[in-house]
Subunit: 214 residues, 2 copies
Amino acid sequence: MKIGIIGATGKAGVELFLEAQKRGHEVTAIVRNGAKARDLFGADVALLEKDAFTLTREELLNFDVIIDAFGVPLGTQKGYLHLDLATHLIHELRETDKPRIVFILGAASLLDGDQRLLKKLQTLPNHEQWIDVPESQFHELNFLNSVQNVNWVGVSPQRDFVPGARSGYVRGTDKVMYNAAGKSQVTTGNMAVAILDEIEHPQVSRERFTVGDK
Amino acid sequence: MKIGIIGATGKAGVELFLEAQKRGHEVTAIVRNGAKARDLFGADVALLEKDAFTLTREELLNFDVIIDAFGVPLGTQKGYLHLDLATHLIHELRETDKPRIVFILGAASLLDGDQRLLKKLQTLPNHEQWIDVPESQFHELNFLNSVQNVNWVGVSPQRDFVPGARSGYVRGTDKVMYNAAGKSQVTTGNMAVAILDEIEHPQVSRERFTVGDK
């Protein structure tokens, strides 16, 4: 499939790019900084060098699947850009079935017991410094849930989303999941495998699912 | 003040334009069809002839106040454009205090007794033909409620938003209000007066209020 990855040089994006490439898909890195992508993926990497906020309908329709792996650094108070990019991409894709578009959301919208994880995060010390990102991704899911005429899917990592290898994953729907060691965690490698599995064998449409380490 | 009105030639927009002009403001009609604005407001009307979805930050920052009076015709299933225009304008205005931006929302997000009016509307015969508009405006308010770094205000009409004259208005916060005749109604003239009053003497920030006929 023709897969475009927004934020391909970021934490989630790198593993996604490599996993998609390994499976033989025709992958394009959609990034602002082409040099970084060439360093990571080789000089012959397929590139669409653009600010994602300027992607047009015409450009997006070239792909079978778009993955929004855009992320802002914590501490910059630019979390709102997560929501704003989703609204831009959805607007450009209104009244289409293709491309399918995968949004990587945060874990804050997951249920932890009977409340949203976001509520817990909002009580942590110094949360003011980074809470803008989980809050924005929470609003992003609320926004997506209102969208009926675009073929979107949301994916939340577990509470800790850490760089790491493929070791087997479990899927959930909307809950924080704890592993045998009592941790709610997913590696970037396992997340990439789970997303490519969903792309190749769709199980949900216009829904969010979550992925944890086995 | 410098006031830009998106959709100045529409149902709500015409009265807003005339009311703002009458009060001595410097009013610009932001419309796709300049000819229609010249017919309505005279050959010397100040125009920004543009698709509102292409308005830039630079253009918006020229104004003290923007009023989003954009509307799609019922029955076209383009209701999502209400939400999409709000997300576009908010994105362009992130991290600003000026212009203040006024969004004319629908009545569906108001509480009627203990439930949203939207729930009632969704039970009416043939609602499938037009429910996309109130649903989108309901989602628009939810989206706006997540926005902390733009100086926005939302205004809902009452259930019946009808062309008509200035006859005195009452303000509310988030409820359907019934007049002496048992009707939940506001005229476009009363709405225009109430919005210009709010623009000249701000009472709320990042909130929605509602206007009904006295």
